[in-house]
C-alpha cells in the first residue's frame, strides 16, 4: 500500500514537470524504471556548465599565453546542445620578430550521446561545432637579407574575423554528486579568415596556427550538472517499507 502511494507521488511530480499525461512506470524488485514517452524528447534532463582546465593552467604557467574558456551544454538524454566561449591572447617576443594577438571566440553545436543507458548519466559523444573568432594582432620585425639589406617595420591588423568547423568527440564522467570531469578532442577544419590585410595572420584565438589546413585541439573540463528531470530509462531505487 505504501509502495503504491510512493509510485503515485512520483508519477504526479513527473507529470507536473512536463505538463503532459502520466508516464509509464514499471516496477521490478526494489527499483522503479522510468520509461520514455515520446513527448519527453524535447525536455532537457539537465544543464551542465564548466570551464576548461588546460586554458587555466596555460594561463598561469606560460608567460606567452593568456586566456580562459567556459562551456555549457543542455542534456536532452540522447542529444546535447553545446556552446563554448573563450578568450585567448599570445605574446611572442623575439630578437628579429615579435608577435602579439588578442581576441575571443565562441562555438555552438550538437553532440550525440552513445551512453543513454548509463545509470550515472555519463556521456560519450560525437559532435559538430561551428566556431567564430574576432581578434586583433600586431607584429614588429627586423628582417635581414644578404642581398636586400635590413629594415625595421611594424604591422597591425585590427577587427579581424575568422570562422571554422569542428568535429568533436569526448566523454563526461560524473565524479561526485553534481561535479563532473570530461575532455573534448577537436578536429578543426574549413578555416576562413580575412585575406586582404597588411600582414598575414599567424594565430587565431580558438583555432590555432593558421598555416595548418586541419588543426587538433583538446580541452579538459570540470563541470557542474544541474538535473532537471530523470533520464528516460533511469532506474530509481526505492525501499519498500516493512509491514508492521
Amino acid at each position: 500500500m505504501n509502495g503504491r502511494i510512493t509510485i503515485s507521488l512520483i508519477m504526479l511530480v513527473l507529470s507536473c514537470l512536463t505538463r503532459t499525461s502520466a508516464q509509464v512506470v514499471t516496477i521490478a524488485g526494489d527499483s522503479i524504471r522510468i520509461d520514455s514517452v515520446k513527448h519527453y524528447r524535447f525536455v532537457p534532463t539537465g544543464i551542465r556548465v564548466g570551464a576548461d582546465l588546460i586554458s587555466i593552467v596555460k594561463d598561469q604557467r606560460q608567460t606567452n599565453f593568456n586566456g580562459w574558456e567556459v562551456n555549457g551544454d543542455v542534456d536532452f538524454h540522447r542529444y546535447l546542445l553545446s556552446a563554448e566561449y573563450g578568450k585567448w591572447g599570445r605574446d611572442l617576443p623575439g630578437d628579429s620578430a615579435s608577435y602579439r594577438n588578442d581576441g575571443n571566440y565562441w562555438r555552438v553545436g550538437a553532440d550525440i550521446n552513445f551512453l543513454t543507458k548509463d545509470a550515472q548519466r555519463n556521456v560519450f559523444f560525437l559532435g559538430f561545432r561551428y566556431a567564430r573568432s574576432r581578434y586583433s594582432e600586431s607584429m614588429s620585425i627586423i628582417p635581414s637579407d644578404s642581398l636586400w639589406g635590413s629594415s625595421a617595420s611594424s604591422y597591425e591588423n585590427t577587427d579581424l574575423n575568422a570562422r571554422w568547423f569542428e568535429l568533436t568527440t569526448g566523454i563526461k564522467v560524473k565524479i561526485w554528486k553534481i561535479f563532473w570531469l570530461g575532455y573534448t578532442a577537436r578536429m578543426k577544419f574549413g578555416l576562413k579568415k580575412n585575406e586582404d590585410r597588411e600582414m598575414i595572420s599567424h594565430d587565431i584565438p580558438g583555432y590555432g596556427v593558421v598555416d595548418k589546413d586541419t588543426y587538433w585541439g583538446f580541452n579538459y573540463q570540470v563541470m557542474v550538472r544541474i538535473p532537471l528531470r530523470p533520464n528516460p530509462g533511469a532506474i530509481i531505487p526505492y525501499k519498500k517499507k516493512k509491514k508492521k
Partner: protein
C-alpha cells in the same frame, strides 16, 4: 567502466601524439624567386644570351653574372612591392620592373618572420615583348617559368 578506461587511454595517446608537433623549417621561407626564360620572337624557341649581367635596384651585389643564360632565376625584393631589374648585354641594356604584393607573416620564435609574395605583374619593360605566365613567385628553383622575354 570499460568505456571510461578506453577514454582515458585515448586521452593519453592523443596527448602523446599531439606532442609530436612539426618543427618549422627556417630555410627558404620567402617565396621571392621568379624564373625568366629568353625566347626568339620569330619562332618562339629558346635564346641563349652571352655575357648577361643582371642587377637589381637596391641590391647589394650583382644577382647573376653569367657567361651564357637561357633561363635565369632572380630574387625579388620582399621588403618592397616593386623590383627594378637591369639586364646588361655587351651591346645593349634592358630594364624590367616587376610589381607584386608582399605580406609579412610571423612563423615562429626560432624562424622569425617570412614574406609571402603574390599577384606578380610586369609593371614596365624595355624588351621587345614580355609574357607573364604565373602570378605566384616560387620558394625554390623549379622547372616552371614565370615570365617569357622575347627578342627579335
Amino acid at each position: 567502466m570499460k568505456i571510461v578506461k578506453s577514454g582515458l587511454l585515448f586521452t593519453f595517446v592523443f596527448c602523446v601524439s599531439s606532442a609530436c608537433l612539426d618543427d618549422p623549417n627556417c630555410l627558404n621561407l620567402n617565396n621571392n624567386l621568379v624564373s625568366l626564360v629568353f625566347k626568339s620572337v620569330a619562332d618562339g624557341t629558346g635564346l641563349s644570351l652571352d655575357s648577361l649581367v643582371v642587377t637589381a635596384e637596391g641590391a647589394t651585389e650583382e644577382i647573376l653574372p653569367l657567361s651564357k643564360a637561357t633561363t635565369v632565376v632572380v630574387p625579388l625584393n620582399f621588403l618592397n612591392d616593386t623590383t627594378w631589374l637591369t639586364f646588361t648585354l655587351p651591346d645593349t641594356t634592358y630594364k624590367l620592373a616587376l610589381s607584386y604584393r608582399s605580406q609579412p607573416q610571423y612563423v615562429s620564435e626560432a624562424c622569425g618572420e617570412r614574406f609571402v609574395l603574390s599577384d606578380l605583374d610586369v609593371a614596365a619593360h624595355s624588351f621587345d615583348s614580355v609574357r607573364l605566365l604565373s602570378r605566384q613567385p616560387a620558394e625554390k628553383i623549379s622547372t616552371s617559368n614565370h615570365i617569357e622575354i622575347y627578342f627579335e
